[in-house]
Amino acid sequence: MHRWLVLLVLVAAATAAAAADPAPARRAELLHLVRQDCGSCHGLTMKGGLGPSLEPAALAAKDAQMLRFVILHGRRGTPMPPWSAHLTEPEAQWIVDQLKKGLPQ
């Protein structure tokens, strides 16, 4: 019973996340934000700077959920700030997906 409930919740969450994929106009804004503002520390091409590389190879072994958490809540003891005031969870998830496959040219 409990297991079914968990599964149900997971399916619902996945559906919600898919449904909440950012609209095209917002996607363009997010890509701009990633390149330009994340880029001030991670480099315009995501190859790294004061912050580490965010290229697909550098992120391949990293858990997507953990990456989403870092984007939203920052990393204590480092200059990585929390972006939760400016990004929703689905938006952060979408950014992780884009970074993991490489930003569109």
């Binding site: 330009q36 880029g39 001030s40 315009l44 972006w83």
Partner: protein, 382 residues
């Protein structure tokens, strides 16, 4: 008589064919960071003179100038060091000297260019004329806040290691290193004061700044503005502030607070806090207008569409400008009558009158970031 006339005629023709000679004191460049290009500008007529392409990845690009004001040395994120001829609008020499760079400096005598690298961490020193590599100083950590100091010295900080290094390059192929250890956690930038005496580094990981007296025969690091109130729960910093000698206005030094919407005012006689000024957001650059009467401040995301002007005698904000979206940089002409400001997201470089704040010109540029004028070539710490 006849041969003389012929010579005079030839000289006149030659003069017609060659471009009119021009000085370099009013020249500069604007980094078009997404395009890997710089726009060459002149500040007398406030126009764009041309563009130079092929400079690589210019995210976080910076430039220093030769002492004759003719050449700009542009440091790219991809480790590229390019020597750009401002008069001929072309690249004179270019080397890829590391994997990932942050900036550089030119020596007091103009003969050496040092590049600060993130990976591999360290600095590399080049012949300013040919860009021939002369020496390498590995650090094992990311180099930030590099600046030149008198005596062909370069001073910089190490982000992860929490150290300040003073490199004496008077023997360019055998530089001598002085290491100052344990200066504080995560220095994020540093600068040399215009008189060349002090190096000041800002700390990201701690509540304060670090001061080094370069006139001392055995320089040590001293904490200043200790506990200025970065606090346990600082506001998020969406862009690292930048420090340079432009922060000095008379006896006061204007510094961005970290994680606070304030500009800190440091008294350079007593090295104590003279004031703190509430501002619009997290300050990125606090730049004193030449003469030191006003300080112009821009801000990090999401408050980056505004520039505030602080009146130094009154220590308060007296003017707010809105040049466009995402203001990244401000540069004054050497006498301070014009301020050039880049608006990345509006694709514009806006020129303001330094006294009346009237908009004098607006130049189109692609994602403009840093603005660098050749007058920097005559200034210590730039």
């Amino acid at each position: 008589m006849k041969p003389l006339t012929a010579v005079a005629l030839m000289l006149a023709l030659a003069a017609c064919a060659a471009p009119a000679p021009r000085g370099t004191g009013d020249l500069g460049l604007v980094v078009e960071r997404a395009a890997g290009r710089v726009m060459l500008i002149e500040t007398s007529g406030r126009t764009a003179l041309g563009r130079v392409d092929g400079l690589g990845d210019l995210s976080h690009a910076a430039a220093v100038f030769s002492r004759d004001g003719r050449y700009a040395y542009v440091f790219g994120r991809d480790g590229g060091l390019s020597k750009v001829d401002l008069l001929r609008a072309r690249i004179e020499a270019r080397v890829i000297q590391a994997g990932n760079s942050i900036g550089g400096a030119i020596s007091q005598d103009g003969s050496l260019v040092a590049v600060a690298n993130y990976s591999p961490g360290g600095i590399r020193i080049f012949d300013a004329r040919t860009l021939e590599p002369l020496a390498e100083v590995p650090t094992g950590a990311k180099v930030v806040g590099i600046a030149d100091a008198p005596g062909n010295r370069f001073v910089f900080s190490l982000f992860e290691a929490g150290e300040i290094w003073i490199v004496d390059a008077s023997q360019p192929r055998a530089p001598a290193v002085t290491r100052l250890k344990g200066i504080g956690r995560q220095p994020y930038d540093g600068f040399v004061t215009p008189n060349g005496r002090h190096y000041i580094a800002g700390l990201f990981g701690e509540d304060g700044l670090v001061l080094v007296d370069l006139w001392s025969p055995e320089p040590g690091a001293r904490r200043i503005l200790d506990g200025y109130g970065r606090g346990e729960e600082p506001l998020p910093v969406y862009k690292m502030p930048h420090l340079r000698g432009w922060a000095v206005a008379g006896r006061y030094i204007f510094l961005p607070a970290i994680g606070r919407h304030e500009v800190l005012v440091l008294d350079s006689v007593t090295w104590t806090e003279a004031a703190r000024i509430a501002v619009h957001g997290q300050p990125v650059f606090a730049v004193a207008q030449p003469g030191g009467r006003r300080v112009w401040v821009n801000f990090a995301f999401p408050n980056n569409g505004v520039v505030q002007v602080i009146d130094v005698p009154r220590m308060q904000v007296v003017k707010e400008l809105r040049p466009g979206r995402a203001v990244l940089h401000m540069e004054f002409t050497p006498r301070g009558e014009q301020a050039w400001i880049s608006s990345r997201d509006d694709g514009a470089v806006v020129v303001y009158d330094g006294a009346s704040f009237a908009e004098l010109a607006r130049l189109a540029a692609e994602s403009p970031s840093g603005i660098f004028l050749s007058s920097r070539g005559a200034m210590t710490g730039f």
